[in-house]
């Protein structure tokens, strides 16, 4: 594979693209795939696919339970991935990393194990208006269980949080502030460090949904001042069904187990049981060990490029795409925050996003259409749905040219 330098983009972009077998496939009619749905799920590089394959071919055994050689190898690989996640997030101690199925499970764990025992009727949980349902509904559930109240932190018409309003909402009843690091529907990068500082001054814990950030922006949980940080493996080049919760050790140690089962105990008798230390206390049952090992491979893969450079490349695509979409008649971008990732959510006057999505699909262009599991966001902008092109490190300016050409065809058809 030759390396071609493309202006303003990563010099090794072609090499990066060649790492993704799926980008080579064609669709009906021999069309090349233009994948612009990475906020939904990212594609997987060879290294990740090989890691899953390698685990089951060479090392498959249950983790932390077997004395035999395979058991040790599997456990070592699994725990190695924990260290890699800790490194990715800038965590001090790998014991602060709990493997879960994804960001959704991570947030539910925090809601049920951290928040539920601490919430009383009248307590408040602050959640931003731009949250994915997975960082809203778990809080509504725990509010229902405890008599606490969920309140929404407003945003403006660009999709920027109103920090003044937020500051006024904080009070002695605030127990939890839940915020997405990056909005899946708008692309906004939220000022988590400032949000956390204010929350801590009010005595509240800060739970950050990092599902959309791990593959796109450098993360340091220390600098952000988070108390919990949730990531989703499948949005960061790793297999589906993988993810991690990072939490401050002292908090995790105080928290009761969320699920009971094998491998989360110290001793069990019919009179009662005692719990294993963190993180095993939160990892009941056999984990998706092959997936977790592949998550480690994904982190290695990202680190080899460097999150800073990934971010730079995607910023270039964002600038290019924003300018190109401005030429499409009747197109309105939804989410125009100054600090954004490469997510282009938009509506096209007189054409429903579903129709846009179908026509683009027939040209080989994969976008997401709908409410993006963020119905309050749609309500705020007064639209039922949007079309969303979300980019990743493997995307090119040509992908965006294809999108714009496809949208011109939509315009031709719909007038």
């Amino acid at each position: 594979m030759t390396t071609t330098q493309l202006p303003g983009l990563l010099p090794e972009l072609e090499v990066i693209r060649a790492d993704f077998p799926i980008l080579e496939r064609t669709l009906a009619g021999g069309l090349p795939l233009v994948y612009l749905d990475s906020a939904n799920t990212s594609q997987k590089p060879q290294a990740v696919i090989r890691a899953v394959d390698g685990f089951y071919r060479e090392h498959n055994a249950n983790v932390s339970r077997a004395v035999h050689a395979l058991g040790s190898e599997a456990t070592e690989a699994y725990e190695g991935a924990r260290g890699l996640v800790a490194g990715l997030l800038g965590a001090k101690d790998p014991r602060e990393v709990v493997f879960v199925r994804g960001a959704t499970e991570a947030i539910n764990l925090v809601a049920q194990s951290y928040a539920r025992p601490r919430l009383s009727p009248g307590d408040e949980i602050l959640v931003t208006w731009m949250e994915h349902h997975s960082n809203l509904v778990p809080w509504q559930l725990v509010a229902e269980q405890t008599g606490a109240r969920v309140r929404g932190i407003p945003m403006d018409d660009r999709g920027v949080l109103d920090l003044h309003a937020y500051e006024k909402m904080l009070g002695r009843r605030t127990r939890v502030v839940a915020v997405g690091h990056v909005s899946n529907a708008l692309g906004t990068v939220n000022p988590v460090a400032r949000i956390a500082e204010l929350a801590h001054a009010a005595g509240a814990a800060v739970v950050v949904d990092g599902a959309q950030s791990a593959a796109h922006v450098p993360v340091s949980v220390q600098e952000l001042g988070a108390d919990f940080y949730a990531i989703s493996g499948h949005k960061a080049f790793a297999p589906m069904g993988t993810g991690a919760l990072w939490g401050r050790l002292a908090l995790l140690e105080e928290m009761p187990p969320w699920m009971g089962g094998g491998d989360m105990i110290r001793s069990v008798s019919f009179e009662g049981s005692t719990w294993a230390d963190v993180p095993a206390k939160f990892e009941a049952g056999t984990p998706n060990a092959g997936g977790v090992v592949a998550l480690g491979a994904a982190i290695d893969w990202m680190s080899a490029i460097g999150l800073d450079r990934i971010r730079e490349h995607e910023e270039d695509l964002l600038r290019y795409g924003t300018a190109a979409l401005a030429d499409v008649p009747g197109l309105r971008l939804i989410g125009t925050a100054p600090d954004k990732v490469a997510i282009l959510s938009f509506v096209l006057e007189g054409v429903h996003p579903h129709d846009v999505g179908t026509i683009l699909d027939r040209e080989g262009i994969a976008v997401r259409t709908g409410h993006h599991c963020a119905q309050p966001v749609m309500e705020h902008f007064g639209v039922p749905a949007t079309t969303r092109a979300s980019l990743s490190v493997y995307n090119t300016r040509e992908d965006l040219d294809a999108l714009v050409a496809g949208l011109q065809h939509v315009r031709q058809l719909f007038g």
């Binding site: 429903h352 129709d355 039922p384 749905a385 719909f414």
Partner: protein
């Protein structure tokens, strides 16, 4: 643009999308229902009114949806006007068979009953869009069942 897309978005469909017929609410409807597709957020409300002979003298809709959904609702209201409950129910079946592609196997006068609704045959090439086309019909079916203005959700 490929031929399936042109087949799906025929001029008649685009016209009904831009200028939906019977769009609005009825005074004291005999039946009413609200249809919602939580996957895409499409929303359709269907209302109907019977005349003294048991024929639907008015069928109207409101809501928000894609071109396929809106055109389907619009053409549906036109085709149902003047029909009896039983005829309406039969048309729901015929339409569903048409867009899911099961109609070809079935002889009979479905084609005649469907009339201009036949333009929705192109939907069968787009399985993820079948629900867009059938949402108004499911909602109509629920409106028939609701009778006295009682709202039932699909």
């Amino acid at each position: 643009m490929d031929s399936d897309i042109r087949e799906l978005y025929q001029q008649v469909i685009l016209d009904h999308h831009r200028h939906p017929r019977n769009f609005g609410e009825l005074d004291s409807p005999d039946g009413r229902a609200e249809g919602f597709n939580p996957l895409c957020g499409d929303r359709v409300n269907v209302e109907l009114k019977f005349d003294a002979e048991g024929r639907m003298e008015h069928v109207a809709f409101t809501g928000q949806g894609c071109a396929i959904c809106t055109a389907s609702a619009s053409l549906m209201t036109e085709c149902l006007t003047g029909k009896t409950r039983a005829e309406g129910e039969a048309l729901v079946e015929d339409f569903r068979d048409l867009v899911t592609g099961t109609r070809d196997a079935e002889p009979g006068d479905a084609e005649e009953r469907l009339g201009k609704l036949a333009i929705f045959a192109g939907v069968r090439e787009f399985p993820v869009r079948v629900k867009c086309a059938t949402l108004p019909w499911h909602t109509f079916h629920a409106a028939l069942a609701s009778e006295s203005g009682r709202v039932s959700t699909e």
